[in-house]
Structure formats: C-alpha cells, structure tokens
C-alpha cells in the first residue's frame, strides 16, 4: 500500500540518474533523453493522480514522510511545472541554422529540474524540520546551477552569482529560524512543535524564529523587501529556467509556508495574520508598481510574479482547508498561465530579443499568438472568465473568510494597477506598428499544439468547475 503510493516519489528520486544515464545510449544531439523525461514525468503525473486523497493526517511512511492531500496536490502542481518546463526547454536545445543550440546538455538539465522537483516533493511531505530543510535546499540548489546553465552567457553568471549569494544568506536566516524553533520546542517534529506552540504561544524565542523563517522564505517567495534578486535573476537566466524558477520555486516556497502556517504554527496563525497581511499588501503593491514601466519581457514577468506572490500570501490568512485548496488551485492556474506567457515569449525570443518592442505588430503578423498572449495576460491580471480570475477569487475568499475585507479590498484595487501594465503589453502586441521589418515567426507543430492546449486550459479551468471542485473535495470529505 505505502509502497504503491510512494512509487511516484521513488521514481522521481531515481529519475535524474535514469535521464543522465540515457545519454550513454545516444549521441549528444539526439532528443532521446527528452523523450525519456517526457514519458517519465507524465507517468509520474498519472500515478499521482491515481493516489486516493485522504484528508487530515494522511499516510505516513516510516515516520517522517507524509502524503496528505495537500502534499499530493502540490506534487501534481510541481509535476505540471516540470513537464511544461521541459517542453518549453526543448527548443533551446535544438540545433539552429548555425548548427549551435542555445543551451547544451539537455539530460543534465532535465536531471536538475527533476532534482528540484524532488526537493519540492520533500518539502510538502516533510513532517520534521530536518526533512523540511533538506527539501528546501534540494529544491533550491539545482536552481542556482540552472540559472548559470549557459556558461558563455555573462548575464547568466551574474544572475547566478547574485542568486546564490542572496540564497545562501536566506538559507542562513532559515537555519537560524529553525534553530530557535528547535530550541523553543525541543524537538524537530511538527507535532511536538505544534503542541509546544499551542501551550506557550508568546515566547520570544518562537517569534524570533518565526521572524527569521518568514525573512528566509520571503526571499524565495519574493516577498517585500526580499524580492530584490528576482528581477535581475529572471532577466539574466535563460528563458526556460526563468519559467521553471517562477513557478516551481514559488510553489515550493508557498508550500513551505503553508505547511508551516497550517501545520506546526497553526495555533499562532491568528497572531501572525497582521504580519502575513502586511507582507501580502506591500509585496503586491511593490510588484505592481515595479512592473509599470518595464520594457524587457522577463524583467516584466519578474515583477508580475512578485505581485502574484503577494496575492498568494492572502490565502495563508484563511482557515486550513480553504487556504490550502485556494493555494493549490491558484498554483495550478498560475503555472498554466505563466507558462503560456513564457511559451509566447520564448517563440518571440527565438527570433528577436525579448522586449516589448519586438512584440509590435504581432496581432497582424500572427493573430493566434497575439490572442494567446492576451489570454495569458488577462488571466494573470485576473479578468473573468479566464482562470486567473477564479484563482484570485479563491485567494480573496480565503482571506475574507477570516474577515480581512480591507486587505482584500486593497488587493482588488491593486488589480486595476496590474491590469494597467498587462494592458501595456497587450497594447504593444495589438496596437503599436512595428518600426522596421521584424523577422517572421515560425511555429513548429509542437509549439502550436502546446500553445493551443495551454490557452484552452487558461480559458476553461476557471468557469468549468472541474478542477476547483475536485481540489476542494480533496480537502473536505
């Protein structure tokens, strides 16, 4: 029984070695590892879907590996991100006209992604601080490597340097927080911590640790004011890495917070709510303000993802089931919409540099792409009937359940600001005339297929109640 439900995790654990090993049986430019990865990831995703959702404690393996409903659903989010990530990366490893690909060593690349995903798995299935910490690190360290994947790329290495230096500092913060938490509760296990918190909820030790933990994870979730690395890293890293970064690492971070807030720290959620609310409000405001006048697409997406992080934080204020299901649902939607946007940017980026200017005349040149872009942007802006709106609605609902009307109101008003800059981007695709002649865009069949699929998903996942209802049903039997 346990083995069967552990199968996905084990498979994923073994997966990097399989992929890298598959390099032995093919030449360096064949797409064989990629195919293997596809099959494997999709297999894992399917197996995850077959795991019966059990609310509450979930199943334990040995004593510190837990599969509860939140874990399983977040696993699915991570897998979706991984699959889309490798799909997006495929074109970058293909050998262009000059015979040189933009990126090398696809197998190792996929292995790194798989490692990161496994780290994320670990985070959501941990039930003691050590596993928790390890998961976070496993999820993060491959990202450093991925950021610097293009050794030739100066930007990439600068981005990676900034990323890893700040990341390690953040790790230090987390460790400090963990250590105080350990000192406070005298144990690493969440249950003991939870009971300790419940008994003595005002101990300074606890709160210092909470402060350090939030600061540390705030870095990974790009909360205010720990977000400063994000724009630079997003811009410097290769586009597919940026996409994976913006989804997987964010999902990991929010999962980390959700596990903490709804798990060991559940007893002090009430006292934490001002901090969470402030973090949410400031983050989404700053993210929106920063995105206003951007001209480079990936930097723009960085700010947009910062503000999205602010929105996600609102869900942490809600009660456990609602908050968790809101997070899961929103992460699904966010992953799909974000990847749609990055696919479009990637296709643009294959032919031009990734700026607003190179989007011009897109609606005339390739209407389908322009529509896909508009769908993605409006979804991120949270305009109904696109999925993004329903995702945000879930988050706001979670926040409003505990009566944070004014935070919700603030977030909602910020939506207007967000709409403003998303419209800026749509404008350059729909109104502006291109100056000079831009190289034409060629879409291969896979790209076309993926874009259509993702567009349909972004449109339909919202008002078609399938996803949302199933997720919610997972949390409440």
């Amino acid at each position: 029984m346990f083995e069967s439900i552990l199968l996905p995790d084990l498979l994923l654990l073994a997966f990097p070695f399989i992929v890298i090993g598959s390099r032995l049986f093919c030449d360096f430019r064949s797409a064989f590892p990629w195919r293997v990865a596809n099959i494997g990831f999709i297999l894992i995703f399917i197996m995850l879907n077959m795991i019966p959702l059990a609310s509450g404690e979930g199943h334990f393996f040995i004593f510190n590996w837990r599969l509860d409903d939140f874990g399983v659903l977040m696993r699915e989010v991570f897998m979706v991100s991984a699959i889309l990530g490798i799909w997006l990366s495929k074109d970058y490893f293909e050998h262009g006209a000059d015979g040189k690909p933009q990126m090398h060593q696809i197998a190792e690349y996929i292995g790194a992604i798989a490692f990161a995903t496994f780290g994320a798995f670990t985070v959501v299935s941990a039930c003691d601080l050590l596993t928790f910490f390890l998961g976070l690190e496993i999820a993060t360290i491959p990202m450093y490597a991925l950021t610097a994947w293009n050794k030739k790329d100066q930007m990439g290495s600068e981005a990676a340097t900034k990323y890893i230096l700040m990341g390690s500092v953040a790790t230090a913060f987390e460790l400090f927080g963990f250590s105080y938490l350990y000192g406070f509760s005298g144990s690493l296990f969440f249950n003991d911590i939870a009971s300790a918190v419940a008994t003595n909820s005002t101990s300074p030790l606890l709160w210092v640790s909470i402060l350090f933990l939030f600061s540390g994870i705030g870095f990974k979730l790009t909360l205010f004011p720990f977000y400063t690395w994000a724009p630079d890293v997003y811009e410097g890293a290769p586009t597919p890495v940026t996409a994976v970064l913006s989804v997987t690492s964010k999902a990991t971070a929010i999962a980390f917070l959700a596990v903490l807030v709804f798990g060991p720290l559940a007893a002090v959620q009430e006292q934490m709510s001002p901090l969470i609310a402030l973090l949410a409000a400031t983050t989404l405001l700053v993210g929106n303000l920063g995105a206003l006048k951007q001209t480079r697409l990936r930097r723009f997406m960085a700010y947009s993802s910062i503000s999205q992080a602010g929105y996600i934080m609102i869900a942490l204020l809600g009660p456990a089931e609602i908050g968790k299901s809101a997070i899961v649902y929103y992460m699904f939607i966010y992953a799909v919409a974000n990847y749609l946007a990055f696919f479009v940017f990637g296709i643009i980026g294959h032919h031009r540099e990734e700026t607003f200017a190179s989007l011009r005349g897109l609606s005339k040149q390739n209407p389908a792409l322009a529509i896909a872009l508009a769908i993605a942007m409006f979804s991120l802006a949270g305009i109904p009937p696109l999925a993004g709106f329903f995702g945000k609605f879930h988050l706001f609902f979670a926040g409003a359940t505990t009566g944070h009307y004014f935070l919700v109101a603030f977030a909602v008003i910020n939506n207007v600001l967000a709409l403003f800059y998303y419209i800026q981007l749509i404008k350059s695709a729909w109104i502006d005339e291109p100056e000079g002649t831009l190289s034409s865009l060629r879409l291969n069949r896979r790209q076309r297929l993926i874009i259509i699929m993702l567009s349909i998903a972004v449109v339909a996942l919202g008002f078609v109640p399938f996803l949302s209802n199933n997720i919610f049903a997972g949390f409440t039997f």
Binding site: L134, A145, M155, T161, I164, S168, G183, G186
Partner: protein, 101 residues
C-alpha cells in the same frame, strides 16, 4: 557556560557574518561571511541540543546535515564564481551591475 552565553555567541557570530557581508567587496570574502552565519546557526543547534532539548540527538544531527548541505552549496557557488571570473577577470561585486533597471 550557559545556554544564554552560547546563544549570544551565536548571535554575535551571525552579526559578524552580516557585517562582513555588507563590508566585503570580494566574492570569496562574502562567501566566508555567509559560512559564518550558517555556523552561527549550527552553534545554536548544538547548544540547544546540549542544554534544553528533549531529544538532543536531533540538534546534532541537524548541524551535521547543515554542514553537508552548505558544503555542496558552496561548491556550486564556487563553480559559478569561477565562471564569473572567466568573464570579468576579477571578483569585485561592484562589477555586477549589468543587470539592473
């Protein structure tokens, strides 16, 4: 030698790390300061394990894991810094100004 002393020591160590991080312009130096901060955390774990905690093994275990993890983190960091050096032929952080608004 009380818990409080150890905690204060750790905190000072952490502070030194932060200070160095702020002051240093040399990437390796910054990495070293980060190591200081991490080890401050380790001292916390050990001291808690020694003085107060119910299961004292956990703390020690944790610090060992931390050392291992930070080791590979540093490995990656150094690798990246090396590739940095290939580009800039120096390790001054002030040069990392190409990515900005």
């Amino acid at each position: 030698m009380t818990l409080m002393n150890c905690l204060i020591l750790a905190f000072i160590l952490f502070g030194i790390g932060v200070w160095g991080l702020m002051r240093r312009r040399h990437l390796i130096g910054m990495l070293i300061s980060i190591e200081l901060m991490l080890n401050a955390a380790n001292i916390n774990f050990i001291s808690f394990a020694y003085f107060s905690a119910k299961d004292s093994t956990a703390g020690a275990l944790f610090s060992i894991f931390v050392i291992a993890v930070t080791a590979c983190e540093m490995a990656i960091a150094l690798a990246i810094i090396v590739s940095m050096y290939r580009r800039y032929h120096s390790l001054d952080v002030e040069q990392l100004r190409d990515l900005h608004d």
